[in-house]
């Protein structure tokens, strides 16, 4: 257990993916908050104040990229890394994720172990001193 109880929100419309992430994150010592809709994530993110988020690019009724943009706009004082996941992500998708405020992308399908490892690395990078500037976003690191 090395998640130290840090809060991680996961947003995906696929129940299997969500339950997989919930179990893997909690076994790794994180507190997982799982949501099936982007709207729900948008409403609850300011209260939950997650240390990191995992957001699916395809959310069924909403667009994951737009949700990430809206979360960044709604939580301007909260600096946390966002990992976007998606099937068949293109270079344009990755660029769009960066513009929207995500730090990292991971292609579906992925394993639970990969997801937990990626979140751990993002959190490490976000907390690595010294920060580039006061209040700045974590440096974007992209790999699929």
């Amino acid at each position: 257990m090395d998640g130290h109880g840090q809060r991680v929100m996961a947003v995906d419309n696929d129940r299997t993916v969500l339950e997989l992430l919930q179990i893997r994150l909690e076994v790794a010592g994180y507190r997982a908050f799982i949501m099936r809709s982007g709207r729900q994530a948008l409403d609850l993110a300011p209260q939950i104040r997650p240390a990191a988020m995992i957001v699916a690019a395809q959310l069924g009724e909403s667009d994951g990229f737009e949700i990430v943009s809206a979360i960044r706009a709604r939580c301007p004082d909260q600096i946390f890394p966002i990992l976007m996941t998606g099937r068949g992500l293109t270079a344009d998708d990755v660029r769009r994720a960066l513009v929207c405020g995500a730090q990292n992308c991971m292609a579906k399908p992925f394993s639970g172990a990969e997801a937990v490892e990626r979140i751990g690395r993002l959190l490490q990078a976000a907390h690595r001193p010294p920060p580039p500037a006061a209040g700045a976003e974590p440096a974007p690191v992209f790999y699929i």
């Binding site: 299997t16 179990i23 893997r24 076994v27 399908p109 394993s111 639970g112």
Partner: protein, 129 residues
């Protein structure tokens, strides 16, 4: 040819998508066994030294199960990217799954209509959402 009742709608999916959905479900099963492994580990920590050996064997079996499932999931995930673009009827295969919530989840992931079996009590599956 597929033996389905002509009155029923027959769900068809590509073999790649079917393997992909299967890999997610195996990965979830692996996660559940990893959770079980961690629970057994916590229980062992509470036991007196004289009784720990009995449970260590169980923990080893669950650990092997987790590794087996993780390996099968990785295999299925990789194979989903290797198979040619062919489709197959999946309705009858889904009917073989006795756990309704699991069959419903897989059906939805393969493009079928959700029956809501994951939402009610007594679904026979974890209802976490």
């Amino acid at each position: 040819m597929d033996g389905a009742d002509p009155g029923e709608s027959v769900l068809k999916a590509t073999v790649a998508d079917t393997l992909d959905v299967l890999s997610w479900e195996i990965e979830l099963a692996a996660a559940r066994s990893i959770y079980l492994d961690s629970v057994i580990g916590q229980m062992i920590g509470l036991l007196p030294e004289t009784r720990k050996a009995e449970f260590l064997e169980s923990m080893h079996v669950v650990d092997l199960l987790s590794q087996q499932l993780t390996g099968l999931s990785a295999f299925s995930r990789r194979m989903s990217g290797e198979v040619p673009d062919v489709s197959a009827h999946v309705s009858q295969a889904l009917d073989q799954i006795s756990l309704g919530a699991l069959a419903d989840r897989m059906s939805v992931a393969l493009g079928g209509i959700e029956k809501g079996l994951n939402d009610g009590d007594g679904a026979g599956d974890l209802d976490l959402f």
